[in-house]
Amino acid sequence: MTTGAPPTEAAGPARAGASAGRDVVRRALSLLAPLAGLAVLLLVAAVTTPGFYSAGVLQLVLFQIGLIGVTAVGQTLVLLVGGIDLSIGAVIGLTTVVIAEHSRGDGERLGVAILLATAAGAGVGLLNGLLVVRRQVPAFVATFATFVLVQGVITAWTRGAPSGNIPGELSPLGIGRWLGIPVPLWAFLVVAVVAGVVLGRTGLGRRLYATGANERATALSGVRTRWIIAGCFVASGLLAVLAGLINAGYIGYVDARLSRSLDPNSVAAAVIGGIALTGGRGRIGQTVVGVTLLAVLLAWLRQLGAGAGAQLVVSGAVILLAVWLQGSGWAARSPRRIKQRDGVR
């Protein structure tokens, strides 16, 4: 089972064949809407912005996919267990500050700096997880609070002016290419494949989906759901650290804006791909399509000369559209939703 259907939905042996068939149809349907959106977008971009299909723009899109994708995978994990992580932007910013402050531009200190940044990211993820599972704070509130907290820590620590530089040794992670493809994209692909395998092929993945679909029932069946939820927040924090390292390598400076951004792209990409905000449904493949769609969309908007305001409006509108479609359109027609509606479990 790779689609997030909870174990309580397991079909009897006699219906296994029919169920497998429906599973394939369901998978196809779940990818159809974002893929159709991507196709339409590519067509509109071709018509409205001549030169969109140049090698230069393609490189930009591939880079953007890598940058957004790493955080989108973390966000997907959190969304699958019914949470949301708004602290990703703050962890990205914190990572660049830790790297600059500790390494002071010295490549020899980079290793320790990365370890410190990783610990910080894991710490923020753990704090989010504990707030959610131990204190039952809604993830939306808990992660927003840590977002503000981390911003405050950065400001108090650096007084708004981080000293130190990003070591040049980190730049291949941001601007390097391997086989002509930007390194950030490779990083995303590796992360996505690992996450996809864990979610689709392991017991941990099954427990994760079950936790997102119905935490109480899953906990009653003996699964340590709290560990799983907290683990997803920690994973998201760690992937935000990776995104922070990519960002630091890309620009080579501490960008004060990074820690102040709520990073809407990770949520937008996952939701556009069809990951349910209510948890338990969605696959990494959908996130990959969502990330691609969003990266193309942002590149197209930039080519059109749209400002940051327009980009935010479009990101917000696309989240709304995707959620609306999930709630009333294509997702409702999937076999599992029909069964749920009819009370068949």
Binding site: L60, R257, R302, L320
Partner: protein, 405 residues
């Protein structure tokens, strides 16, 4: 930061309200982002002289034009004309007063807060000048947010200071500024302005229009009056960005040979600027110049062109050490000026002059150095951090204490 929430009468589709709430939070968070000193305002305008005849107009006007003349000289500009602006002298006799409390004056400072190195330097310079002139400082930080500053001004005014100096975070604070003035506290606006400044004694700031026009004139001159130009502004809707850009576009409009091919925002972020510039490289391969209001943005621009293996077009921006360090030893051509954080020193001086009953100008447009690539060696500070605004008026020892050098 406010969080907008939505509710739905329908119980089933919980996802839509959640998404609306999420989107609102995202947009609100990004919309309230402040950078440097920001303030609203159509034409600035000190209130001291409003409704009356302009006092000592000739001398006041000459001091206003001086900043333009010096900038033109420093950048070698032939056609830099000051924008129309009436500057008058204010009679501060009604504000003249002995210290209300004890023997030293207590000056309230509603600061931006140390959200970036500009804010840090701005308040440290104020403190230093306060120490020099022997006054006590009542301090409040807005953390770059106008809503927080509304509370700050109320709290500061309630302590009945002798004068109030405000680094305005937006037009939203106008009511509190008027209320403070109504309480008999002389108010000086510092490093920014308000649309309605009729209640303040004086507005002390580097003029946005001067920066925007000077950068544009320098580019026009570099290009011989002909070529394609991209305009990279900071943050949409923020006065620091919008007034500079508007002034630049006016200059470009006067030169028919100059074509502004695109206007984009960099959010004063090197990361965003680099992505924007990477697009410029592919989309406008014949671009001749880049007008930018930010040295931080220029960092991204230079990297994008260098990584694409293309020559960097002439750029403009404010003088941040990171940019100078990055381009030292290269053939990048640029013109830089500054919105110096240390202007807070002149703000305090103006407040003290008002308390002494000495005449001040309703608009003190301060002067600060402008320079081009030819003078880079005079201004770059390799021993200091990237975040230092150069040249700094603070002593080296203090810069080291602040971690800026």
């Amino acid at each position: 930061m406010r969080i907008h929430s939505s509710t739905s009468r329908r119980s089933r589709p919980l996802r839509l309200p959640l998404a609306i709430g999420l989107t609102a939070v995202l947009v609100t968070a990004c919309g309230t982002e402040q950078e440097g000193a920001t303030a609203g305002g159509g034409g600035g305008g000190g209130g001291g002289a409003s409704g009356e005849e302009c006092a000592n107009a000739e001398e006041a006007q000459a001091s206003y034009e001086q900043a333009w003349t010096e900038t033109a000289q420093q950048l070698g500009l032939e056609n830099l004309e000051p924008t129309e602006e009436q500057v008058c002298e204010v009679d501060t006799a009604p504000w003249a007063a002995e210290p209300k409390n004890g023997e030293t004056y207590r000056i309230a400072f509603a600061a931006q807060g140390p959200t970036n190195s500009w804010g840090l330097t701005n308040e440290e310079a104020f403190r230093q000048r306060a120490e020099e002139v022997g006054v006590e400082v009542l301090y409040a930080s807005a953390n770059g947010d106008a809503t927080a500053q509304v509370d700050n001004i109320q709290q500061l005014a309630s302590q009945d200071p002798d004068a109030l100096v405000v680094v305005p975070m937006g037009d939203g604070i106008t009511g509190q500024v008027q209320a403070a003035a109504g309480q008999g506290i002389p108010v000086v606006l510092c490093a920014g302005r308000l649309s309605d400044s009729s209640s303040v004694v004086s507005t002390v700031t580097r003029q946005y229009e001067l920066l925007g026009s000077a950068y544009a004139e320098w580019l026009v001159q570099q290009l011989g009056g002909e070529g394609q130009v991209a305009v990279l502004s900071g943050l949409a809707g923020v006065p620091t960005a919008e007034y500079q850009k508007a002034a630049a576009l006016e200059v470009f409009a006067e030169h028919p040979g100059i074509e502004v091919v695109t206007e984009q925002y960099t959010e004063w972020s090197p990361t965003v600027a680099k992505q924007v510039a990477a697009n410029l490289v592919t989309q406008y391969p014949d671009l001749d110049g880049i007008w930018s209001d930010s040295g931080y943005g220029d960092l991204g621009v230079v990297q994008a062109y260098q990584e694409a293996g293309r020559p960097v077009p002439p750029v403009t921006g404010d003088a941040i050490n990171a940019f100078l360090k990055a381009v030292q030893g290269t053939d990048v051509r640029f013109a830089l000026s500054s919105f110096p954080p240390e202007q807070s020193m002149q703000c305090l001086d103006t407040a003290m002059a008002a308390l002494a009953g000495e005449p001040v100008l309703d608009k003190v447009y301060i002067n600060s150095p402008s320079f081009t690539h030819e003078q880079i060696d005079e201004y770059v500070r390799p021993e200091c951090t990237d975040n230092l605004f150069v040249p700094s008026a603070l002593p080296d020892e203090q810069l080291r204490e602040l971690g800026l050098c």
